[in-house]
Amino acid sequence: MSAAAPLPTVIAIARAEARLLLRRRSTGALLALFAALLVAAAVLASLRATRERAQQDAYRALVRAQWEQQPDRHPHRVAHYGTFAFMPVGPLAAFDPGVQSYVGRVQFLEAHRQNAANFPEAAALSSAFRLGELSPAFVLHVLLPLVVIVLGHRLIADEAESGRLRLLLSQPVGPRALLAGKLLGLALALLPFAAVAALASGFVVLTAGGGVPDSLPRLALLALLAAAHLAGWMLVTLLVSVRLPSPGRALAALVTAWAAAVVVVPRAAGALAAAADPLPTRTEFDARLAAEVHALGDAHNPDDPVFTQLRRDTLARHGVTRVEELPVNYGAVVMARGEELTAGTFARHFEALVGRMERQEAGVRRAALLAPTLGVRALSAAVSGTDLRAALRFQREAEAYRYAFVQQLNALHRDKIRFENDRGQRLSAAHWAEFADFQPSVAGLREALAGTAWCWLALALWIVVPGVALAWQEVRP
């Protein structure tokens, strides 16, 4: 706290406080309850992630096998047969599921169409249960602060009530040393809770599969986040305990603050962000896209300027006068051009939609200044690779993969299928194995943390503001 506090005194107070807190029977009960919840959350989350990954792996293998085992087929038939992209369950998804339950996990990829990712878990549940999924991250970021409050709300009040505070302050201890000692004592008493949390989180990360995360830095950062967040709660709890003399009022104030940070502010911020910048609906999005795609050009219309130009260019390049004389299949040339145009239009609309989603997200994140827990949860999801950006990354990569394989098929169609009796021909099945499999990537840590400045600022203020307030706080018996 301040240089004036003699270290041995601080440590003595801290040890006494920690011993007192840990000897309380209610602390033991709380620890048992906490451990039980955490173990339940860890085991179930790990089970769920393992099961989901196993299911996905099985389907991914099945879909690949089905792709390669296709018989001789016309390439455009294959483009409509299509394939599936599965959103991977990352190694940290069991620790912090983030928004994963709210995004579709499977996307059907085919020619001409950008299908939505479907089957989000949330559509099959009730919205009454949206306060958070009971994951290790939820226990760490939402429930552990409550433990801090329960243990710490009477740190000073107890002393004041029993009259010991007067005694302590009359000795040459000083208020700074007293507060520092109390804070350290609370931190020591929280160690068993933190140890249980660390063990359970480690268990989840190791057993949920998907390999140990690429980087220890992620785990270190998650630990640091949780520690900083809890430190803020400890400072706030101590501050309230000093300022509100009755333990009942201190508890009520702290739980109200907790409820605001965990329940009220996040939801209210979400509602306001949605109202401020509403997303288009699927019907509106698709209607605008369809109108624009239609305006791009109509391959069926012989007078269409775009496709007339394409024909002229293609004929000129090969020095012929009729499409029938071309060495390549002109139908496939048209198809490839159409795909290129529609994909570009879709990308523009999609990025505009994403821009809105990210503006909404930024609005919510600004509210972290009022509710730092909100910011910490956002950071935790970002580090765990389970946030909105991870979902959008998957959707972009799935679209890029769709475009690539459809154009690869269009190229085969152009070069291997004759223009005459086009649909009556088939391409040898030997070609199917040439197609690369969909390989979704994971954002690096730096990239994953883009756009989280407000969250970091909120976390810093969460520690600095109560810290400074405590440093200036008078302690009166």
């Binding site: 087929r73 989000p120 009942g248 306001l272 699927r282 509106e284 909404q360």
Partner: protein
Amino acid sequence: MSGFGGLLTWELRRLARAGTARVALGLLFAAGLLALFAAGREVARHERELAAADPAYAAQMERIGKQFPAGGHAGYVAYYTFFPVRNPTPPLAVFSLGLRDVTPSVVWIRLLGLEGQLHESGIGNPVLQALGAFDLAFVLCALAPLVLLVLLHDVLSRDRAQGVLPLVVAQAGGLGRVFAARVLARFAAVATVAVALFAVGAAWHGVPVNGAALAWLGDALLQLACWTAIGALLAALATGVAATLAAAVSAWVVGVVLAPALINLATVTLHPVPEGLAITVAQRQETHAGWDRPKEDTFARFFALRPEWRDTPPVTGRFAWKWYYAMHQVGDASVAATAERYRARLVARAALLARLAWAVPPATAQLLLSRRAGTDLEAHLAFLDRVRAFHGEMQVHFFPAIFAERELPPTAWREFPRFVPPPSAPAAGGPGERVPLVVTVLLCAVFLPAALRRAARLAT
């Protein structure tokens, strides 16, 4: 009873003067107004989509008209035509959004295999969805209980701490009377805010105040009564101010945060729904396998499903639309059992939630309210059934022309089937679902006299 009425009035007046109560009730009312605004915006977004469906359909038909200026084969036209199936937001959705923020209000389907189209997601921001909707049901089921519990904690404890409880009891003529008057006054204050918010919301968003709306309000108040009973019991049992508050906020944390999170996890873990993936993958495989199979095989399977087309002449050329749609029908049929299992799993989830409601009645009050509002899972499944039925209607309309290899005139789309949503469905859930809440109130009421006798002993 005029004596008790006077006591109640006195307690109400005292509550109105208390700073904490005024701030807490004011904040609750403000949160309610925000909820009405936010849910109103969300419903307006859905209404916009519902209203946009018809113009979008008309624009699409105009494009198709240009594509087929002289008309076209029924199968070809149907291939390009998407039909909007609307799921109007029920009037009470503005109070209880339920699942409406994660389920689409309009599903666009073609005559192709339905199973690949049925579960198309709407557009939503997962970040906001994960935070949960801020609607009146949330305010009344999550925030109002906290206000109630905080208001209830000092029903006895403060007077006792100040040593004036015996005096107050003597003046009022019995501990039970003071206790009842104070508890009722607090319930009445919060219930008044709830009713006021309901009234403001009904006027603001034009919600008809009919039986269904009143049943919704009744259940919201019952849920508040349930928390009142819990808070009263805790207030009667605990001895100090701090202990009462600690017990009250613990009850809230368990009922509003912990229990729902546990129930959620239990439901998801005990009832996984792997069929979603299975349906999508299997349907595609089966549908497309038709291209490489002898046409007679596909038709044999199709005729088993649809014997009325058995007499259609065999396809001799490379392609025929009737063969194409038969493939899709066969693809759908191949996953019918899986689709049925998918639905059954979801129903099992809902049933499990209802059972768990018995363990923690207040935790599931929001669920009950979304059932009453017609925005719950069951209502969504009913909508999916309507989409299914409409797909059947589309087949009835198009198959005769497709099997007769008929060209449709350019004006044919005026006769195309249109989906007409049913008049708002009656609220789901019978009075039986209130039972857990009622039982909780009764249980608390049974234990209250004993707790009060103990409190009276301590007071004297």
